[in-house]
Symmetry: C2
């Protein structure tokens, strides 16, 4: 298939992707725009452009300022929109109707794509969990006894999930022995996030096989972490202020429908799982390689395909106790790390808790983030016919503590 | 002051209380009601009645189905409504105007009062924390080293916060060594909850002195807990499925303005606190005694006035890292327990982890909850002139696992 739109060579936003996001036009002076058109609306990324779905379809669900109302319509509506978009973009007969609703991607402002319900962060990379275990519990088994039986997770702060580009204010907080001040161990966590579209009822678990009936798509997540604040606070009830100051997400949500070619079997599991976590025939490993850059320099390439627990298993676990889902719920993989040093998705792993500073191209070193540092996470996955599916980026610049 | 409304002797819903909630009329057959009137609207409890604020004031903010939009207006609007309500209820000249908007409290259905943003649960009762420490870490200090330096807390699942009366379906889940089945250690946690009205900006901590500028009022919380699920999952990231199946709240939110006579100094602190947690002159201890009943029988009377950390300190801590607040955020004290056995706010404490079964009046015993059990938590606080301020109740009946 090809499109009448000019698609730059190697664009990750081709006909096989069609991710959804929320944008507002950056040209308030444009004479033809009424005030409503200046508001936040749903867009589709195609090549270097954004399609204004509210304008093109006339469906006000795309002018609500978040994807929630559309995502709540469910998989048939998602598939129908995808079919229509493909038709509009392939058949030149639609060009005249579509073109007025195209905007250059570099001339719009992207917003948080969903109004987030609950935000859950998992801990599903075996290499990440083992690295942290070795650092903090030397001489003991690297994994806790529960790790291979269930996808460990916890609730994060949904109110501080923000879109890529939001400044990262270095947090203040209590540290070891009640010292107080700006975090000196500010870190990243490179993760993959999953966006729930269809809610579920209280008391009704969602099985592994129900994953694609509830989850619309995938984004990138940077779960900024203040390791010194977290270390002091987290026993016995888990991370709190060490995480809650900011979680950044990429603006484009890639539909599961775009990831059929990226599905792979997760790594072999050496410990049998309970039936509710069984995923034979429902394998949602994703061949998705992240790239983490610090001030433009590639630090690591964490492989999400190596995650021990898949998102479908995470969803089944999260609801097995009867917990309900809401449209806009976001759950993330936890830091993605692979077995090699250049596959680690956090600075605490890359610098081995500060003991092995990271050497940068300019001769400087890093253990944790310094003010002014910019961290950008990108990713792509295989699509059909050699096409790549881009996830765009999630980025943030560290600002000094206030 | 007295009202032209008949206020039953000893009502906790007198002129000094005026709590807000969301109700829907239970009489859809009433000929005079249009469909809009049958919807969820904001009410004020007064004696045995509810005032329909949407009908009385004509302000559509009270017909939105949650308190959020009104609470977002802030303390001046809250105070103004309170002044107007007092005037209407005291001066008989208003009787004819108000009476058409009164409904018997026992003839309406109460709903979740707010659309919950983030839900945070603290751990602020020293007696509760020490009891759990003695049970689970015998031979070690009962409190973790951080406990007297900060109010320990964690994020819970806001999507499963439901109104009093919601059935408590016994959760299924993984337990020790990956056993799977219905929880056999289903418990309660009797808590006090605080409802945020006015949001705050990312990066701007709310000081202890800002408490009443952001928090509208107080409700009762039962944070149902599956101890066996929790015990297996919670290392290292804290409670997750052991809590997320349901959290129940009382339907009436008592304004802070009704609690001036209930304010007391919190217990003396033997460990100095950091300046951001200092509460000299901003003491928000609340002389609020909870009562926990199992199938009607009084089990305990947990004293919220003995909480080591106040809600104002909890709020300051929760935001010191720059985390923002949203309207509808709910944060709770954690289980309230006092030094005496009959002041313990959970069954795990009352039965000492099952070792000392609770003897009930009918001759039966309990360690944890059985199917069919009904748990009801009530509370009241001192008001002016000997009046009591009631918090109503939060109740739930345990249903068998599905």
């Amino acid at each position: 298939m090809s499109s009448w739109i000019d698609l730059p060579a190697g664009t990750g936003f081709g006909l096989a992707n069609l991710p959804l996001g929320v944008f507002s036009p950056d040209r308030p002076g444009d004479a033809y725009m009424c005030s409503e058109q200046r508001g936040r609306r749903t867009g589709v990324a195609i090549g270097d452009h954004v399609i204004d779905l509210a304008g093109l379809t006339g469906d006000q669900v795309h002018a609500t300022g978040s994807l929630n109302a559309f995502l709540a319509r469910g998989p048939e509506a998602w598939a129908e929109l995808r079919r229509r978009l493909t038709g509009w973009l392939v058949d030149p007969a639609h060009r005249a109707a579509v073109e007025p609703h195209l905007r250059p991607r570099d001339a719009v402002t992207m917003h948080l794509p969903v109004e987030v319900g609950d935000y859950v962060d998992f801990y599903s990379s075996q290499h990440h969990a083992e690295n942290l275990g070795r650092m903090f519990r030397p001489g003991q088994p690297a994994l806790t006894p529960n790790w291979k039986h269930l996808p460990i997770g916890y609730h994060g702060r949904s109110g501080t999930v923000r879109v890529s580009g939001t400044p990262v204010r270095r947090p203040l907080g209590q540290q070891k022995d009640a010292a107080f001040g700006p975090s000196r161990r500010l870190d990243i966590e490179a993760e993959v996030g999953f966006v729930v579209g269809v809610p579920s009822a209280l008391g009704e678990p969602v099985p592994v096989a129900g994953f694609a009936e509830h989850v619309f798509g995938v984004c990138l997540v940077n779960d900024w972490s203040a390791r010194d604040i977290q270390a002091w606070e987290y026993v016995p009830l888990g991370p709190f202020l060490g995480k809650s100051f900011l979680t950044s997400v990429s603006p484009w949500v890639v539909p599961l429908a775009a990831l059929e070619h990226a599905r792979i079997a997760p790594p072999p599991r050496d410990t049998p799982v309970l039936p509710y976590l069984g995923d034979e025939g429902e394998r949602w490993g994703l061949d998705l390689t992240l790239e983490v850059r610090l001030n433009g320099e590639l630090l690591s390439s964490p492989p999400a395909g190596l995650l021990y627990w898949t998102a479908a298993q995470q969803l089944a676990h999260m609801t097995v106790n009867g917990a309900s889902l809401r449209t806009g719920d976001l759950f993330a993989s936890g830091t993605v790390s692979g077995p090699d040093r250049d596959q680690r998705g956090s600075l605490i792993e890359l610098s081995w808790n500060g003991a092995e500073p990271i050497k940068l191209a300019d001769g400087s070193t890093r253990t944790f983030l310094e003010d002014g540092d910019v961290v950008t996470i990108t990713a792509s996955a295989p699509g059909p016919d050699g096409e790549r599916i881009s996830f765009g980026e999630v980025t943030g610049r560290v600002e000094p503590a206030s």
